[in-house]
């Protein structure tokens, strides 16, 4: 079957559909995932085709959603729970951090919780408060969770398949500002392993590392940098926990410079771990310190300021300049 061109929303929708067809234990649950198909239509049509018993509109309670998903997993189901927006995941923080992440260890491996918690994340869509946040660091810091995020429709399709099949809980972050971007999705093609990073653009002079919404931006920045005569490599991290340090290291040993770009606040954001660990692994290879571009130490601002707050091509290039100035 040839590849088809799909938006990320459609790719996610088809991926859910496929998972539900393949395994009757897969359930979809969350606020407004049923008749409405989710506020972004990711679950569009699923309730119609699979019934209310498998695609369930829940009461408005995120702790209840994740908590009952855990219970359903204990009963042998594979729930895919949706959190409507990034900023609304915190009522479920206790369920995610003290229960979902820890039950496998608590039971010495006897209990598995194959729960996927999906949520749109990140900014750039002009939304009101709490609809544009990037909470990945909270989850990545939590042992017991896997945290992944696709940057394009093809990865969205496959990574969701893999996440649903994972025996571990997965926090699945969907870059909402890329929901409507199209890509070729080959539903037969063998995917990369879930936690492997991908060199999205080969280059020699500096590595730009990004994930989710910032991959496209970094590719554009790399294009722009070519005009300045700089050949940037772009690595799409794909998995924030675990992190594929081997792929990053290989890139950095080659380019000798690394800039990490994410929307999450820089302070204790994923870039801090990457900087710390890559500096340790590549101490004698780095010609400049690992630099980071990301959100500031401020609540995500109101939408009229999000272009200022978020990394832009210019801010990335400015930081690339800084790296070369070392």
């Amino acid at each position: 079957m040839a590849a088809r061109t799909l938006t990320m929303v459609k790719a996610l929708n088809e991926s859910l559909r496929k998972a539900m067809e393949d395994d009757p234990k897969v359930l979809v649950m969350g606020e407004d995932v049923g008749r409405l198909g989710g506020v972004f239509r990711v679950t569009d049509g699923l309730q119609k085709d699979f019934g209310e018993d498998r695609v369930t509109d829940t009461p408005l309670a995120e702790s209840g959603i994740v908590g009952t998903a855990i219970g359903l997993a204990l009963r042998g189901y594979r729930p895919v729970a949706e959190i409507q927006f990034d900023g609304f995941v915190f009522p479920a923080a206790n369920q995610i951090i003290t229960q979902l992440a820890k039950m496998h260890a608590r039971s010495l491996g006897k209990v598995r919780l194959p729960v996927v918690v999906r949520m749109p994340y990140g900014g750039g869509i002009g939304a009101i408060e709490h609809h544009s946040e990037s909470p990945e660091a909270y989850f990545a810091h939590t042992a017991g969770l896997r945290v992944v995020t696709p940057s394009n429709a093809a990865d969205a399709y496959w990574m969701l398949q893999q996440s649903i099949r994972s025996a571990d809980p997965v926090i699945f972050l969907e870059p909402k500002r890329r929901y409507w971007e199209r890509a070729d999705v080959d539903v037969d093609e063998m995917p990369l392993p879930l936690h492997q990073a991908r060199v999205a653009r080969a280059g020699t002079d500096l590595t730009l590392l990004a994930y989710g919404p910032m991959v496209r931006l970094c590719l554009d920045a790399a294009e722009a940098a070519r005009e300045d005569g700089r050949d940037l490599e772009v690595v799409d991290l794909r998995s924030i926990s675990p992190i594929d340090f081997d792929t990053i290291q290989a890139s950095v040993r080659k380019t000798r410079r690394l800039v990490v770009v994410h929307e999450a606040p820089v302070f204790l954001g994923p870039g801090s771990e990457i900087a710390a660990r890559i500096t340790e692994r590549c101490f004698y290879h780095l010609e400049s310190p690992v630099l980071r571009v990301g959100g500031y130490h401020s609540p995500y601002p109101s939408s009229r300021l999000e272009e200022e707050y978020l990394p832009t091509i210019d801010r990335v290039l400015d930081t690339v300049d800084r790296a070369f100035a070392f």
């Binding site: 606020e31 407004d32 049923g34 008749r35 409405l36 198909g37 506020v39 509109d57 829940t58 009461p59 408005l60 309670a61 702790s63 209840g64 900023g87 609304f88 915190f90 009522p91 002009g126 939304a127 009101i128 408060e129 709490h130 609809h131 302070f267 500031y296 130490h297 401020s298 609540p299 601002p301 109101s302 939408s303 009229r304 300021l305 200022e308 707050y309 210019d314 801010r315 400015d318």
Partner: protein, 366 residues
């Protein structure tokens, strides 16, 4: 689509407090009564009409690109004006995010509400100016803020009470139950108002709760009442009584206002995906404004001239809002650094300086 008739939705059981029928005639009630002058009734009418008008104008302005989003209060004017006007200025109000009518009662300029939907701030008003707290987008937590505030009021021995609003969807949040319990245990002077408008986005009330939400109160040990939320008189009478109950040291009270969200959940929403137009049509017959107008007209307390004058005032308000919104300035590019902390903070200072340097370099054509 949705079966319409469970206990959670049913609006006809005897417990429902109603003082004005959908046809605009007064209905007697054993426990709750209200006696307003024609002047006061006209005031309520005016409040509802003006609220509906600026709210509708906001919908248009959103379509014209002046705001990223708007959440309309259409259909809920009686629930909001009736309860809002029942409160004294000294009472303190914690809204959810759709209480434009309550804000109106407090004297909050509609434009003030629009900043967050335009994207120039996250609210940004001073709650103490009108004893009207900021809108809170995350559903649930603010009911605990309201409860804590009321606990403070009790400590101060102040002669006032707190009003805390949440939705039928909100009633499911753990925080709301915790708020009901903290309020009960502390005998806090607080009145909770749940505007049960039938829907939480696309989720009908039947999927939110198995029984009417006012019954929640008894489970935590205080009174709860279900009110016809499209009846401004009933809303005012019950809220007044509830606030007096609270101010009198009798602890919390829960009001479930049975109403209907006539508009989409927000301007981004498409209700045709999840509910029948018939349901909306049915509720249109219970419209809160038409109901009060019928009463006023029947009693000859409002004539065409009066009604026209209110319409003219509404037009003027709409124009003021339109002009005001269109000229509402964007914040400074570094504004998001300014209020992260009340006191000096080195990381914020460092990042602001860095960003300012970047902006300057950029403008120089870097």
């Amino acid at each position: 689509m949705t079966a319409n008739g469970t206990a959670a939705r049913e609006g006809t059981e005897p417990a429902l407090v109603r003082l004005l029928s959908p046809e605009g005639t007064r209905v007697p009630h054993d426990e709750y009564s209200i006696d307003l002058t024609p002047e006061q009734l006209r005031g309520l009418y005016r409040d509802m009409v003006l609220t509906r008008r600026f709210d509708g104008e906001a919908v248009s302005l959103q379509r014209q690109g002046e705001m990223g989003l708007w959440v309309s209060a259409l259909g809920q004017e009686a629930a909001q004006i009736g309860s809002g006007r029942a409160a004294r200025d000294t009472d303190y109000i914690f809204p959810s995010y759709r209480e434009h009518g309550v804000a109106w009662c407090r004297g909050v300029d509609p434009l003030t509400l629009m900043g967050m939907f335009r994207g120039v701030n996250h609210g940004g008003w001073d709650p103490n100016t009108n004893n009207f707290h900021l809108y809170t987008i995350v559903i649930g937590p603010v009911t605990l803020h309201a409860t804590g505030y009321a606990m403070g009021v009790a400590k101060d021995g102040a002669d006032m009470a707190v009003l805390s609003y949440f939705g039928d969807g909100g009633s499911s949040q753990g925080d709301v139950s915790e708020a009901l319990n903290f309020a009960a245990v502390n005998n806090a002077p607080i009145v909770f108002i749940c505007q049960n408008n039938g829907w939480a986005i696309s989720t009908p009330i039947e999927k939110q709760t198995r029984v009417p939400i006012y019954q929640r109160a008894a489970g935590f040990g205080f009174p709860g009442v279900r009110v016809d939320g499209n009846d401004v008189l009933a809303m005012m009478a019950v809220t007044r009584a509830a606030l007096e109950h609270a101010r009198g040291g009798n602890g919390p009270f829960l009001i479930e206002a049975l109403t209907y969200r006539m508009a989409p959940h927000a301007t981004s929403d498409d209700p045709t995906r999840y509910r029948f137009a018939e349901e909306e049509a049915e509720w249109r017959l219970k419209d809160p404004i038409a109901r009060l107008r019928a009463y006023l007209v029947n009693e000859a307390w409002a004539d065409d001239a009066y009604l026209a004058a209110i319409e003219a005032e509404a037009d003027a308000l709409a124009k003021r809002v339109r002009d005001g919104l269109r000229s509402m300035p964007d914040p400074e590019p570094t504004a998001f650094f300014d209020h992260v902390y009340a006191e000096q903070h080195p990381l914020v200072d460092e990042e602001r300086a860095e960003f300012t340097r970047y902006l300057a370099g950029f403008e120089e054509g870097h």
